[in-house]
Amino acid sequence: MPPVTYRLHAKKTMSAPDALLALLSALKWRLRFTVAKVLMTGNAAIGEAAIRAGCQCYFGYPITPQNELTEYMASNLSRRPGCTFIQAESEIAAINMVYGASVTGVRAMTSSSSPGISLKQEGISYMAACQLPGLIVNMSRGGPGLGSIAAAQSDYHQSTRGGGHGDYRTIVFGPSSVQELADLTHRAFELSDKYSIPAMILGDGMLGQMMEPVEFKHEAPAQLPVRANGLRGAKGRPSRFVRTFTSNPAELEELNWSLFRRYQLLQKNEVSCENYLTDDAQLIVTAFGIAARIAKGAINEARAAGLKVGLFRPITLFPFPQQQLKELAKNTKYFLDFEMNMGQMIDDVKLSLEGAGEVAFYGRPGGVIPTSTEFLRVITRLYYQKGLS
Protein backbone atom coordinates (compact mmCIF):
# COMPACT_ATOMS: atom_id res chain seq x y z
CA MET A 1 0.00 0.00 0.00
CA PRO A 2 1.38 3.45 -0.83
CA PRO A 3 1.91 5.51 2.30
CA VAL A 4 0.30 8.94 2.39
CA THR A 5 3.46 10.72 1.58
CA TYR A 6 2.81 14.38 2.08
CA ARG A 7 2.79 13.93 5.84
CA LEU A 8 6.10 12.08 5.70
CA HIS A 9 7.47 14.92 3.68
CA ALA A 10 6.19 17.45 6.17
CA LYS A 11 7.62 15.54 9.10
CA LYS A 12 11.11 15.59 7.66
CA THR A 13 11.19 19.34 7.67
CA MET A 14 9.21 19.90 10.85
CA SER A 15 10.79 21.21 14.05
CA ALA A 16 9.98 19.43 17.31
CA PRO A 17 7.56 22.05 18.73
CA ASP A 18 5.81 22.22 15.36
CA ALA A 19 5.43 18.48 15.32
CA LEU A 20 3.95 18.56 18.83
CA LEU A 21 1.50 21.28 17.82
CA ALA A 22 0.54 19.32 14.72
CA LEU A 23 -0.06 16.24 16.85
CA LEU A 24 -2.23 18.20 19.29
CA SER A 25 -4.29 19.74 16.55
CA ALA A 26 -4.69 16.33 14.93
CA LEU A 27 -5.94 14.96 18.24
CA LYS A 28 -8.34 17.84 18.67
CA TRP A 29 -9.59 17.28 15.16
CA ARG A 30 -9.99 13.58 15.82
CA LEU A 31 -12.10 14.37 18.86
CA ARG A 32 -14.43 16.58 16.86
CA PHE A 33 -14.47 13.98 14.15
CA THR A 34 -15.89 11.32 16.41
CA VAL A 35 -18.30 13.58 18.24
CA ALA A 36 -19.96 15.92 15.78
CA LYS A 37 -19.55 14.45 12.34
CA VAL A 38 -22.28 12.80 10.32
CA LEU A 39 -21.92 10.79 7.13
CA MET A 40 -23.80 12.50 4.33
CA THR A 41 -23.93 12.82 0.56
CA GLY A 42 -22.71 16.14 -0.78
CA ASN A 43 -26.20 16.91 -2.01
CA ALA A 44 -27.81 16.33 1.37
CA ALA A 45 -25.06 18.32 3.11
CA ILE A 46 -25.88 21.38 1.00
CA GLY A 47 -29.53 21.02 1.97
CA GLU A 48 -28.76 20.80 5.67
CA ALA A 49 -26.30 23.69 5.49
CA ALA A 50 -28.85 25.81 3.62
CA ILE A 51 -31.51 25.19 6.26
CA ARG A 52 -28.99 26.13 8.93
CA ALA A 53 -28.18 29.28 6.98
CA GLY A 54 -31.82 30.29 7.31
CA CYS A 55 -32.85 29.43 3.77
CA GLN A 56 -36.62 29.85 3.78
CA CYS A 57 -37.53 28.78 0.25
CA TYR A 58 -36.28 26.02 -2.01
CA PHE A 59 -37.53 25.58 -5.58
CA GLY A 60 -36.24 22.73 -7.71
CA TYR A 61 -36.84 20.39 -10.58
CA PRO A 62 -35.54 16.81 -10.80
CA ILE A 63 -32.33 16.15 -12.70
CA THR A 64 -29.51 13.69 -12.05
CA PRO A 65 -27.08 13.95 -10.25
CA GLN A 66 -28.52 16.47 -7.81
CA ASN A 67 -31.84 14.85 -6.87
CA GLU A 68 -30.78 14.03 -3.32
CA LEU A 69 -30.70 17.76 -2.61
CA THR A 70 -34.24 18.30 -3.91
CA GLU A 71 -35.37 15.25 -1.95
CA TYR A 72 -33.58 16.42 1.21
CA MET A 73 -35.43 19.73 1.01
CA ALA A 74 -38.74 17.96 0.38
CA SER A 75 -38.20 15.96 3.57
CA ASN A 76 -36.65 18.64 5.74
CA LEU A 77 -37.82 22.05 4.55
CA SER A 78 -41.32 21.58 3.14
CA ARG A 79 -43.09 21.23 6.49
CA ARG A 80 -40.78 23.49 8.46
CA PRO A 81 -42.73 26.41 9.93
CA GLY A 82 -42.59 29.46 7.67
CA CYS A 83 -40.66 27.63 4.96
CA THR A 84 -41.52 26.64 1.41
CA PHE A 85 -40.53 23.79 -0.87
CA ILE A 86 -41.90 23.55 -4.40
CA GLN A 87 -41.10 21.00 -7.04
CA ALA A 88 -41.56 23.42 -9.91
CA GLU A 89 -42.78 22.61 -13.41
CA SER A 90 -39.39 23.47 -14.91
CA GLU A 91 -35.99 24.88 -14.06
CA ILE A 92 -37.16 28.16 -15.55
CA ALA A 93 -40.10 28.33 -13.18
CA ALA A 94 -37.89 27.33 -10.24
CA ILE A 95 -35.38 30.15 -10.72
CA ASN A 96 -38.20 32.65 -11.18
CA MET A 97 -39.72 31.49 -7.91
CA VAL A 98 -36.33 32.15 -6.31
CA TYR A 99 -36.46 35.60 -7.89
CA GLY A 100 -39.93 36.24 -6.45
CA ALA A 101 -39.03 34.97 -2.99
CA SER A 102 -35.74 36.89 -2.95
CA VAL A 103 -37.56 40.13 -3.80
CA THR A 104 -39.37 39.87 -0.47
CA GLY A 105 -36.01 39.75 1.34
CA VAL A 106 -35.86 36.09 2.38
CA ARG A 107 -33.12 33.57 1.66
CA ALA A 108 -34.03 31.37 -1.28
CA MET A 109 -32.27 28.80 -3.43
CA THR A 110 -32.55 26.38 -6.30
CA SER A 111 -30.38 23.57 -7.56
CA SER A 112 -29.90 21.68 -10.78
CA SER A 113 -27.30 20.14 -13.05
CA SER A 114 -25.79 21.45 -16.27
CA PRO A 115 -28.72 21.26 -18.77
CA GLY A 116 -31.05 22.62 -16.11
CA ILE A 117 -28.63 25.41 -15.23
CA SER A 118 -28.71 26.53 -18.87
CA LEU A 119 -32.47 26.92 -18.52
CA LYS A 120 -32.02 28.98 -15.38
CA GLN A 121 -29.74 31.51 -17.03
CA GLU A 122 -32.57 33.86 -17.98
CA GLY A 123 -33.67 34.09 -14.36
CA ILE A 124 -30.10 34.47 -13.07
CA SER A 125 -29.56 37.41 -15.43
CA TYR A 126 -32.76 39.04 -14.13
CA MET A 127 -31.65 38.47 -10.54
CA ALA A 128 -28.29 40.07 -11.31
CA ALA A 129 -30.08 43.02 -12.92
CA CYS A 130 -32.37 43.46 -9.92
CA GLN A 131 -29.43 42.98 -7.54
CA LEU A 132 -31.16 40.12 -5.82
CA PRO A 133 -29.25 37.63 -3.72
CA GLY A 134 -29.99 33.92 -3.90
CA LEU A 135 -28.18 30.61 -4.21
CA ILE A 136 -27.96 28.46 -7.33
CA VAL A 137 -26.32 25.06 -6.98
CA ASN A 138 -24.93 23.33 -10.07
CA MET A 139 -23.96 19.70 -9.56
CA SER A 140 -22.56 19.65 -13.03
CA ARG A 141 -22.30 16.77 -15.48
CA GLY A 142 -20.71 16.09 -18.84
CA GLY A 143 -21.88 18.10 -21.86
CA PRO A 144 -22.69 19.63 -24.29
CA GLY A 145 -26.38 18.88 -24.77
CA LEU A 146 -27.99 16.36 -22.50
CA GLY A 147 -24.45 15.01 -22.25
CA SER A 148 -23.87 12.36 -19.61
CA ILE A 149 -24.75 12.16 -15.94
CA ALA A 150 -21.15 11.58 -14.91
CA ALA A 151 -19.20 14.25 -13.07
CA ALA A 152 -17.55 16.92 -15.21
CA GLN A 153 -16.34 20.51 -14.96
CA SER A 154 -17.49 21.73 -18.33
CA ASP A 155 -19.61 24.55 -16.90
CA TYR A 156 -16.67 26.61 -15.58
CA HIS A 157 -16.98 29.24 -18.30
CA GLN A 158 -20.75 29.44 -18.04
CA SER A 159 -20.55 29.82 -14.26
CA THR A 160 -17.74 32.34 -13.99
CA ARG A 161 -18.66 34.53 -16.98
CA GLY A 162 -22.19 35.28 -15.88
CA GLY A 163 -23.86 32.59 -17.93
CA GLY A 164 -26.90 34.48 -19.15
CA HIS A 165 -27.22 37.59 -21.30
CA GLY A 166 -25.86 40.94 -20.17
CA ASP A 167 -22.68 42.13 -18.54
CA TYR A 168 -22.76 40.53 -15.09
CA ARG A 169 -21.11 37.90 -12.91
CA THR A 170 -22.23 35.75 -10.05
CA ILE A 171 -20.15 34.81 -7.00
CA VAL A 172 -18.95 31.27 -7.75
CA PHE A 173 -17.55 28.71 -5.34
CA GLY A 174 -15.75 25.52 -6.32
CA PRO A 175 -15.83 23.19 -3.31
CA SER A 176 -13.88 19.95 -3.31
CA SER A 177 -15.26 18.01 -0.36
CA VAL A 178 -18.58 17.40 1.34
CA GLN A 179 -17.41 19.50 4.28
CA GLU A 180 -16.59 22.36 1.96
CA LEU A 181 -19.97 22.06 0.24
CA ALA A 182 -21.59 22.60 3.63
CA ASP A 183 -19.26 25.45 4.66
CA LEU A 184 -19.50 27.25 1.34
CA THR A 185 -23.28 26.96 1.21
CA HIS A 186 -23.34 29.07 4.35
CA ARG A 187 -20.76 31.47 2.99
CA ALA A 188 -22.58 31.75 -0.33
CA PHE A 189 -25.74 32.97 1.39
CA GLU A 190 -23.73 35.45 3.46
CA LEU A 191 -21.78 36.92 0.55
CA SER A 192 -24.80 36.92 -1.74
CA ASP A 193 -26.72 39.00 0.80
CA LYS A 194 -23.74 41.24 1.56
CA TYR A 195 -23.13 42.17 -2.08
CA SER A 196 -26.67 41.73 -3.48
CA ILE A 197 -25.35 39.41 -6.16
CA PRO A 198 -26.60 35.89 -6.83
CA ALA A 199 -24.17 33.18 -5.72
CA MET A 200 -23.46 29.84 -7.30
CA ILE A 201 -21.94 26.64 -6.02
CA LEU A 202 -20.25 24.78 -8.85
CA GLY A 203 -19.97 21.19 -7.74
CA ASP A 204 -20.20 18.07 -9.82
CA GLY A 205 -21.98 14.75 -9.86
CA MET A 206 -19.30 13.01 -7.86
CA LEU A 207 -19.26 15.57 -5.06
CA GLY A 208 -23.05 15.43 -4.95
CA GLN A 209 -23.25 11.66 -4.78
CA MET A 210 -20.29 10.82 -2.56
CA MET A 211 -20.56 10.58 1.19
CA GLU A 212 -18.07 11.99 3.65
CA PRO A 213 -18.22 12.94 7.30
CA VAL A 214 -19.41 16.49 7.68
CA GLU A 215 -19.69 18.81 10.61
CA PHE A 216 -22.22 21.64 10.59
CA LYS A 217 -20.75 24.69 12.22
CA HIS A 218 -23.97 26.68 12.50
CA GLU A 219 -27.28 26.05 14.20
CA ALA A 220 -30.43 26.95 12.30
CA PRO A 221 -31.42 30.50 13.30
CA ALA A 222 -34.34 30.88 15.69
CA GLN A 223 -35.74 33.52 13.37
CA LEU A 224 -35.43 33.37 9.58
CA PRO A 225 -33.34 36.26 8.25
CA VAL A 226 -35.10 38.97 6.21
CA ARG A 227 -33.21 41.69 4.35
CA ALA A 228 -34.16 45.25 5.22
CA ASN A 229 -34.64 46.17 1.56
CA GLY A 230 -37.16 43.38 0.89
CA LEU A 231 -40.32 44.32 -0.99
CA ARG A 232 -43.07 43.41 1.48
CA GLY A 233 -45.87 45.85 0.78
CA ALA A 234 -45.91 49.64 1.13
CA LYS A 235 -46.90 49.72 4.77
CA GLY A 236 -45.78 52.96 6.40
CA ARG A 237 -43.58 53.95 3.45
CA PRO A 238 -43.99 54.99 -0.19
CA SER A 239 -44.45 52.13 -2.64
CA ARG A 240 -41.35 50.83 -4.36
CA PHE A 241 -40.65 48.80 -7.44
CA VAL A 242 -37.97 46.42 -8.61
CA ARG A 243 -37.36 46.32 -12.31
CA THR A 244 -34.85 45.28 -14.89
CA PHE A 245 -36.10 47.25 -17.86
CA THR A 246 -35.30 50.89 -18.36
CA SER A 247 -35.56 53.11 -21.41
CA ASN A 248 -32.64 55.18 -20.12
CA PRO A 249 -29.21 53.79 -21.14
CA ALA A 250 -27.45 56.14 -18.69
CA GLU A 251 -29.35 54.54 -15.81
CA LEU A 252 -28.42 51.08 -17.06
CA GLU A 253 -24.81 52.14 -17.42
CA GLU A 254 -24.82 53.20 -13.79
CA LEU A 255 -26.21 49.81 -12.78
CA ASN A 256 -23.40 48.11 -14.69
CA TRP A 257 -20.85 50.32 -12.96
CA SER A 258 -22.36 49.60 -9.60
CA LEU A 259 -22.14 45.86 -10.23
CA PHE A 260 -18.59 46.20 -11.54
CA ARG A 261 -17.48 48.09 -8.42
CA ARG A 262 -18.85 45.26 -6.30
CA TYR A 263 -16.94 42.71 -8.36
CA GLN A 264 -13.79 44.71 -7.61
CA LEU A 265 -14.60 44.66 -3.90
CA LEU A 266 -15.15 40.92 -4.06
CA GLN A 267 -11.80 40.53 -5.78
CA LYS A 268 -10.16 42.59 -3.06
CA ASN A 269 -11.85 41.12 -0.01
CA GLU A 270 -13.45 37.78 -0.61
CA VAL A 271 -11.19 35.51 -2.66
CA SER A 272 -10.10 32.23 -1.15
CA CYS A 273 -7.79 29.47 -2.26
CA GLU A 274 -5.71 26.60 -0.96
CA ASN A 275 -1.95 26.30 -1.45
CA TYR A 276 -0.82 22.72 -0.97
CA LEU A 277 2.92 21.97 -0.79
CA THR A 278 3.66 25.02 -2.92
CA ASP A 279 6.50 26.49 -0.84
CA ASP A 280 9.33 24.54 -2.47
CA ALA A 281 7.40 23.39 -5.54
CA GLN A 282 9.10 23.49 -8.93
CA LEU A 283 5.89 22.59 -10.67
CA ILE A 284 2.48 23.80 -9.52
CA VAL A 285 -0.71 22.09 -10.52
CA THR A 286 -3.78 24.33 -10.79
CA ALA A 287 -7.10 22.56 -10.33
CA PHE A 288 -10.48 23.17 -8.69
CA GLY A 289 -13.23 21.04 -7.18
CA ILE A 290 -13.08 17.29 -7.45
CA ALA A 291 -10.23 17.50 -9.99
CA ALA A 292 -8.13 19.09 -7.26
CA ARG A 293 -8.78 16.05 -5.05
CA ILE A 294 -7.60 13.73 -7.81
CA ALA A 295 -4.60 15.99 -8.40
CA LYS A 296 -3.72 15.87 -4.71
CA GLY A 297 -3.60 12.09 -4.86
CA ALA A 298 -1.16 12.31 -7.76
CA ILE A 299 0.89 15.03 -6.06
CA ASN A 300 1.24 12.92 -2.92
CA GLU A 301 2.62 10.10 -5.01
CA ALA A 302 4.92 12.46 -6.93
CA ARG A 303 6.26 13.80 -3.63
CA ALA A 304 6.96 10.24 -2.49
CA ALA A 305 9.08 9.86 -5.61
CA GLY A 306 10.95 13.05 -4.75
CA LEU A 307 9.29 15.39 -7.25
CA LYS A 308 8.70 18.87 -5.91
CA VAL A 309 5.12 19.36 -7.01
CA GLY A 310 2.43 21.50 -5.36
CA LEU A 311 -1.19 22.42 -5.87
CA PHE A 312 -2.96 25.75 -6.21
CA ARG A 313 -6.68 25.31 -5.72
CA PRO A 314 -9.03 28.30 -6.12
CA ILE A 315 -12.02 28.01 -3.81
CA THR A 316 -13.73 31.13 -5.14
CA LEU A 317 -13.85 30.71 -8.92
CA PHE A 318 -15.31 34.18 -9.31
CA PRO A 319 -13.65 36.25 -8.05
CA PHE A 320 -10.60 34.21 -9.10
CA PRO A 321 -7.64 34.44 -6.67
CA GLN A 322 -5.47 36.25 -9.21
CA GLN A 323 -2.95 37.84 -6.87
CA GLN A 324 -2.52 34.64 -4.88
CA LEU A 325 -1.66 32.71 -8.02
CA LYS A 326 0.62 35.38 -9.42
CA GLU A 327 2.48 35.36 -6.12
CA LEU A 328 3.42 31.72 -6.68
CA ALA A 329 5.08 32.57 -9.98
CA LYS A 330 7.86 34.27 -7.98
CA ASN A 331 9.26 30.87 -7.08
CA THR A 332 7.93 28.63 -9.79
CA LYS A 333 7.99 28.96 -13.50
CA TYR A 334 6.00 25.89 -14.45
CA PHE A 335 2.28 25.38 -14.06
CA LEU A 336 0.11 22.46 -15.06
CA ASP A 337 -3.60 23.15 -15.29
CA PHE A 338 -5.77 20.08 -14.69
CA GLU A 339 -9.50 20.07 -15.34
CA MET A 340 -12.32 17.71 -16.18
CA ASN A 341 -13.00 19.59 -19.42
CA MET A 342 -11.00 20.73 -22.43
CA GLY A 343 -9.47 23.70 -20.64
CA GLN A 344 -11.61 26.49 -19.23
CA MET A 345 -10.12 27.64 -15.93
CA ILE A 346 -6.80 27.74 -17.74
CA ASP A 347 -7.95 31.09 -19.15
CA ASP A 348 -8.09 32.52 -15.64
CA VAL A 349 -4.77 30.89 -14.76
CA LYS A 350 -3.08 32.54 -17.71
CA LEU A 351 -4.79 35.90 -17.12
CA SER A 352 -3.65 35.82 -13.49
CA LEU A 353 -0.06 34.88 -14.31
CA GLU A 354 0.15 37.61 -16.99
CA GLY A 355 2.90 35.68 -18.72
CA ALA A 356 4.86 35.07 -15.53
CA GLY A 357 4.86 31.30 -15.99
CA GLU A 358 4.52 28.54 -18.54
CA VAL A 359 1.13 26.83 -18.39
CA ALA A 360 0.62 23.29 -19.63
CA PHE A 361 -2.76 21.57 -19.66
CA TYR A 362 -4.21 18.14 -19.06
CA GLY A 363 -7.95 17.47 -19.10
CA ARG A 364 -10.58 14.78 -19.53
CA PRO A 365 -13.95 16.03 -20.78
CA GLY A 366 -17.37 14.42 -21.17
CA GLY A 367 -17.71 12.90 -17.71
CA VAL A 368 -14.64 10.67 -17.86
CA ILE A 369 -13.13 10.55 -14.38
CA PRO A 370 -9.35 10.70 -14.58
CA THR A 371 -7.41 8.80 -11.93
CA SER A 372 -4.53 9.95 -9.76
CA THR A 373 -2.29 7.33 -11.38
CA GLU A 374 -3.07 8.68 -14.82
CA PHE A 375 -2.40 12.25 -13.76
CA LEU A 376 0.81 11.24 -11.99
CA ARG A 377 2.18 10.11 -15.36
CA VAL A 378 1.35 13.53 -16.82
CA ILE A 379 3.09 15.28 -13.92
CA THR A 380 6.14 13.07 -14.12
CA ARG A 381 6.55 13.46 -17.88
CA LEU A 382 6.27 17.24 -17.72
CA TYR A 383 8.57 17.44 -14.72
CA TYR A 384 11.43 15.68 -16.49
CA GLN A 385 10.74 17.30 -19.86
CA LYS A 386 11.32 20.66 -18.23
CA GLY A 387 14.49 19.40 -16.58
CA LEU A 388 13.22 20.06 -13.05
CA SER A 389 14.85 18.44 -10.08
Binding site: N96, G100, A101, T104, G123, R232, G233, R243, T244
Partner: protein
Protein backbone atom coordinates in the same frame (compact mmCIF):
# COMPACT_ATOMS: atom_id res chain seq x y z
CA UNK B 1 -69.78 70.55 -3.17
CA UNK B 2 -69.61 66.79 -2.98
CA UNK B 3 -66.78 65.19 -4.91
CA UNK B 4 -68.22 62.28 -6.84
CA UNK B 5 -65.27 61.21 -8.97
CA UNK B 6 -61.56 61.24 -8.18
CA UNK B 7 -58.33 59.42 -8.79
CA UNK B 8 -58.05 56.18 -6.80
CA UNK B 9 -55.56 56.39 -3.95
CA UNK B 10 -53.60 53.46 -5.39
CA UNK B 11 -53.18 55.15 -8.75
CA UNK B 12 -50.17 57.45 -8.95
CA UNK B 13 -50.52 60.98 -10.29
CA UNK B 14 -48.89 60.22 -13.59
CA UNK B 15 -49.93 60.60 -17.23
CA UNK B 16 -50.49 57.25 -18.93
CA UNK B 17 -48.17 56.56 -21.84
CA UNK B 18 -50.73 54.28 -23.50
CA UNK B 19 -52.17 54.96 -26.97
CA UNK B 20 -55.59 56.62 -27.28
CA UNK B 21 -58.28 53.96 -27.14
CA UNK B 22 -56.06 51.39 -25.41
CA UNK B 23 -57.66 49.34 -22.65
CA UNK B 24 -54.67 49.29 -20.29
CA UNK B 25 -55.38 52.64 -18.64
CA UNK B 26 -58.98 51.66 -17.89
CA UNK B 27 -57.88 48.32 -16.46
CA UNK B 28 -55.15 49.95 -14.34
CA UNK B 29 -57.76 52.26 -12.89
CA UNK B 30 -60.20 49.42 -12.19
CA UNK B 31 -57.53 47.44 -10.36
CA UNK B 32 -56.59 50.48 -8.27
CA UNK B 33 -60.23 51.17 -7.38
CA UNK B 34 -60.57 47.57 -6.22
CA UNK B 35 -57.33 47.74 -4.21
CA UNK B 36 -58.63 50.89 -2.51
CA UNK B 37 -62.05 49.43 -1.82
CA UNK B 38 -60.57 46.29 -0.29
CA UNK B 39 -58.10 48.36 1.74
CA UNK B 40 -55.10 46.30 0.67
CA UNK B 41 -52.80 48.94 -0.84
CA UNK B 42 -50.13 48.51 1.84
CA UNK B 43 -49.83 44.76 1.43
CA UNK B 44 -50.32 44.35 -2.29
CA UNK B 45 -47.41 43.33 -4.51
CA UNK B 46 -47.96 43.51 -8.26
CA UNK B 47 -46.04 41.66 -10.94
CA UNK B 48 -46.11 43.56 -14.25
CA UNK B 49 -44.76 41.97 -17.42
CA UNK B 50 -42.61 43.04 -20.32
CA UNK B 51 -44.96 44.49 -22.93
CA UNK B 52 -46.88 47.74 -23.23
CA UNK B 53 -47.62 47.63 -19.49
CA UNK B 54 -43.94 47.17 -18.58
CA UNK B 55 -44.12 50.56 -16.86
CA UNK B 56 -47.19 49.66 -14.81
CA UNK B 57 -45.14 50.51 -11.71
CA UNK B 58 -45.23 54.16 -12.78
CA UNK B 59 -49.01 54.06 -12.28
CA UNK B 60 -49.78 51.54 -9.55
CA UNK B 61 -48.98 52.97 -6.14
CA UNK B 62 -48.19 49.56 -4.63
CA UNK B 63 -44.98 47.59 -4.40
CA UNK B 64 -44.21 46.03 -7.77
CA UNK B 65 -41.64 43.70 -9.22
CA UNK B 66 -41.17 43.23 -12.92
CA UNK B 67 -40.92 39.68 -14.19
CA UNK B 68 -39.36 38.16 -17.27
CA UNK B 69 -41.71 37.51 -20.17
CA UNK B 70 -44.03 34.67 -19.24
CA UNK B 71 -42.62 34.11 -15.77
CA UNK B 72 -45.08 36.25 -13.83
CA UNK B 73 -46.91 33.29 -12.32
CA UNK B 74 -43.64 31.75 -11.06
CA UNK B 75 -42.43 35.07 -9.64
CA UNK B 76 -45.80 35.62 -7.98
CA UNK B 77 -45.60 32.11 -6.53
CA UNK B 78 -42.22 32.92 -4.99
CA UNK B 79 -43.52 36.16 -3.49
CA UNK B 80 -46.73 34.70 -2.13
CA UNK B 81 -45.02 31.67 -0.62
CA UNK B 82 -42.33 33.79 1.00
CA UNK B 83 -44.87 36.31 2.25
CA UNK B 84 -48.28 34.63 2.58
CA UNK B 85 -49.93 37.68 4.14
CA UNK B 86 -49.32 39.77 1.02
CA UNK B 87 -51.86 40.16 -1.79
CA UNK B 88 -50.14 39.24 -5.04
CA UNK B 89 -51.39 39.84 -8.55
CA UNK B 90 -49.85 39.36 -11.95
CA UNK B 91 -50.66 41.62 -14.85
CA UNK B 92 -50.08 39.67 -18.03
CA UNK B 93 -50.80 39.99 -21.72
CA UNK B 94 -51.88 37.25 -24.09
CA UNK B 95 -48.38 36.58 -25.43
CA UNK B 96 -47.12 36.43 -21.86
CA UNK B 97 -49.79 34.25 -20.29
CA UNK B 98 -50.84 32.07 -23.20
CA UNK B 99 -47.63 31.65 -25.20
CA UNK B 100 -44.29 31.91 -23.44
CA UNK B 101 -45.77 31.57 -19.96
CA UNK B 102 -48.30 28.81 -20.59
CA UNK B 103 -46.39 26.29 -18.50
CA UNK B 104 -45.89 28.60 -15.54
CA UNK B 105 -49.52 29.72 -15.69
CA UNK B 106 -51.07 26.25 -15.84
CA UNK B 107 -48.89 24.85 -13.09
CA UNK B 108 -49.29 27.85 -10.83
CA UNK B 109 -53.06 27.49 -11.28
CA UNK B 110 -52.82 23.74 -10.72
CA UNK B 111 -50.97 24.21 -7.44
CA UNK B 112 -53.83 26.47 -6.47
CA UNK B 113 -51.41 29.27 -5.65
CA UNK B 114 -53.43 31.88 -3.85
CA UNK B 115 -52.81 34.71 -6.30
CA UNK B 116 -54.80 36.74 -8.82
CA UNK B 117 -54.02 37.08 -12.52
CA UNK B 118 -55.20 40.02 -14.58
CA UNK B 119 -55.01 38.69 -18.12
CA UNK B 120 -55.17 41.27 -20.92
CA UNK B 121 -56.26 39.77 -24.22
CA UNK B 122 -55.90 42.17 -27.14
CA UNK B 123 -55.15 39.51 -29.76
CA UNK B 124 -51.74 40.94 -30.71
CA UNK B 125 -48.23 41.54 -29.40
CA UNK B 126 -48.59 45.25 -28.75
CA UNK B 127 -45.23 46.66 -27.71
CA UNK B 128 -43.18 44.74 -30.25
CA UNK B 129 -45.32 46.19 -33.03
CA UNK B 130 -48.40 44.12 -33.70
CA UNK B 131 -47.20 40.60 -34.33
CA UNK B 132 -49.52 37.60 -34.20
CA UNK B 133 -50.46 36.37 -30.72
CA UNK B 134 -51.79 32.97 -29.73
CA UNK B 135 -55.13 34.75 -29.34
CA UNK B 136 -55.14 36.42 -32.78
CA UNK B 137 -58.46 35.84 -34.62
CA UNK B 138 -58.61 33.63 -37.67
CA UNK B 139 -58.42 35.85 -40.72
CA UNK B 140 -56.83 38.68 -38.76
CA UNK B 141 -53.84 40.34 -40.38
CA UNK B 142 -50.82 41.11 -38.27
CA UNK B 143 -47.20 41.82 -39.17
CA UNK B 144 -46.38 38.11 -38.81
CA UNK B 145 -49.63 36.82 -40.29
CA UNK B 146 -49.73 39.23 -43.24
CA UNK B 147 -52.15 37.04 -45.21
CA UNK B 148 -54.56 36.77 -42.34
CA UNK B 149 -54.30 34.03 -39.69
CA UNK B 150 -55.18 30.70 -41.22
CA UNK B 151 -55.51 27.62 -39.02
CA UNK B 152 -53.62 25.43 -41.45
CA UNK B 153 -50.56 27.67 -41.31
CA UNK B 154 -50.75 29.63 -38.09
CA UNK B 155 -52.93 27.55 -35.80
CA UNK B 156 -56.00 28.69 -33.89
CA UNK B 157 -56.85 31.26 -31.23
CA UNK B 158 -56.12 29.62 -27.87
CA UNK B 159 -58.63 29.91 -25.05
CA UNK B 160 -56.56 29.93 -21.91
CA UNK B 161 -59.43 30.79 -19.59
CA UNK B 162 -61.37 27.72 -20.71
CA UNK B 163 -58.25 25.59 -20.34
CA UNK B 164 -57.64 26.97 -16.86
CA UNK B 165 -61.27 26.27 -16.02
CA UNK B 166 -60.40 22.58 -16.24
CA UNK B 167 -57.57 22.93 -13.76
CA UNK B 168 -58.43 21.87 -10.23
CA UNK B 169 -56.53 24.57 -8.37
CA UNK B 170 -58.48 27.50 -9.87
CA UNK B 171 -61.39 28.99 -7.95
CA UNK B 172 -62.71 31.75 -10.16
CA UNK B 173 -62.28 32.58 -13.82
CA UNK B 174 -64.28 35.13 -15.76
CA UNK B 175 -63.90 36.78 -19.13
CA UNK B 176 -64.90 40.43 -19.38
CA UNK B 177 -64.26 43.36 -21.72
CA UNK B 178 -63.58 47.08 -21.32
CA UNK B 179 -65.19 48.36 -24.49
CA UNK B 180 -68.35 49.94 -23.04
CA UNK B 181 -69.47 51.53 -19.75
CA UNK B 182 -71.61 48.48 -18.95
CA UNK B 183 -68.77 46.06 -19.67
CA UNK B 184 -66.34 48.19 -17.67
CA UNK B 185 -68.64 47.97 -14.64
CA UNK B 186 -68.81 44.20 -15.03
CA UNK B 187 -65.04 44.06 -15.42
CA UNK B 188 -64.56 45.86 -12.13
CA UNK B 189 -66.90 43.48 -10.33
CA UNK B 190 -64.96 40.55 -11.73
CA UNK B 191 -61.60 42.03 -10.66
CA UNK B 192 -62.94 42.69 -7.20
CA UNK B 193 -64.28 39.18 -6.91
CA UNK B 194 -60.94 37.75 -8.03
CA UNK B 195 -59.06 39.72 -5.35
CA UNK B 196 -61.70 38.74 -2.79
CA UNK B 197 -61.05 35.09 -3.66
CA UNK B 198 -57.42 35.63 -2.75
CA UNK B 199 -58.34 37.39 0.49
CA UNK B 200 -60.52 34.38 1.30
CA UNK B 201 -57.66 32.02 0.51
CA UNK B 202 -59.53 30.11 -2.19
CA UNK B 203 -56.73 29.60 -4.72
CA UNK B 204 -55.88 30.85 -8.18
CA UNK B 205 -58.25 33.45 -9.63
CA UNK B 206 -58.05 34.99 -13.08
CA UNK B 207 -59.91 37.68 -14.97
CA UNK B 208 -59.43 37.72 -18.72
CA UNK B 209 -60.10 41.15 -20.14
CA UNK B 210 -60.75 41.72 -23.85
CA UNK B 211 -59.02 45.00 -24.44
CA UNK B 212 -58.94 47.13 -27.58
CA UNK B 213 -55.65 47.90 -29.33
CA UNK B 214 -56.61 50.37 -32.03
CA UNK B 215 -53.00 51.07 -32.99
CA UNK B 216 -52.11 47.52 -33.90
CA UNK B 217 -55.57 46.63 -35.09
CA UNK B 218 -55.23 49.64 -37.42
CA UNK B 219 -58.63 50.96 -36.43
CA UNK B 220 -60.04 54.07 -34.86
CA UNK B 221 -60.85 53.88 -31.16
CA UNK B 222 -64.54 53.67 -31.98
CA UNK B 223 -64.05 50.92 -34.56
CA UNK B 224 -61.97 48.94 -32.11
CA UNK B 225 -64.54 48.94 -29.30
CA UNK B 226 -67.12 47.78 -31.81
CA UNK B 227 -64.76 45.07 -33.03
CA UNK B 228 -64.50 43.70 -29.50
CA UNK B 229 -68.26 43.19 -29.52
CA UNK B 230 -68.73 42.12 -33.11
CA UNK B 231 -65.70 39.88 -33.66
CA UNK B 232 -63.62 39.18 -30.57
CA UNK B 233 -66.46 38.32 -28.19
CA UNK B 234 -67.75 35.78 -30.70
CA UNK B 235 -64.47 33.86 -30.45
CA UNK B 236 -63.94 34.65 -26.76
CA UNK B 237 -67.43 34.69 -25.22
CA UNK B 238 -67.83 36.90 -22.15
CA UNK B 239 -69.01 35.47 -18.86
CA UNK B 240 -68.08 33.37 -15.86
CA UNK B 241 -66.07 30.30 -16.87
CA UNK B 242 -65.53 28.87 -13.42
CA UNK B 243 -66.74 29.90 -9.99
CA UNK B 244 -66.36 27.73 -6.94
CA UNK B 245 -67.11 30.53 -4.48
CA UNK B 246 -70.86 30.03 -4.45
CA UNK B 247 -71.23 33.82 -4.30
CA UNK B 248 -73.02 35.57 -7.12
CA UNK B 249 -71.67 39.05 -6.59
CA UNK B 250 -69.33 40.78 -4.16
CA UNK B 251 -70.83 44.30 -4.37
Amino acid sequence: MEKIFSRPKSLKKAVFHYCPGCGHSIIHRLCCEVIDELGIQDRTIGVPPPGCSVFAYYYFDVDMVESAHGRGAAVATGIKRALPESIVFTYQGDGDLSAIGTTETIHTANRGENITAIFINNAVYGMTGGQMAPTTMLGMKTTTSPFGREGKYEGYPIKMSEILGQVQGTCYIERVAVNSPANIRKAKKAIKKAFQCQLDGLGYSLVEILSPCPTNWKMSAIQSVKWVDEVMSKEFPLGVIKDTTGKKDVN
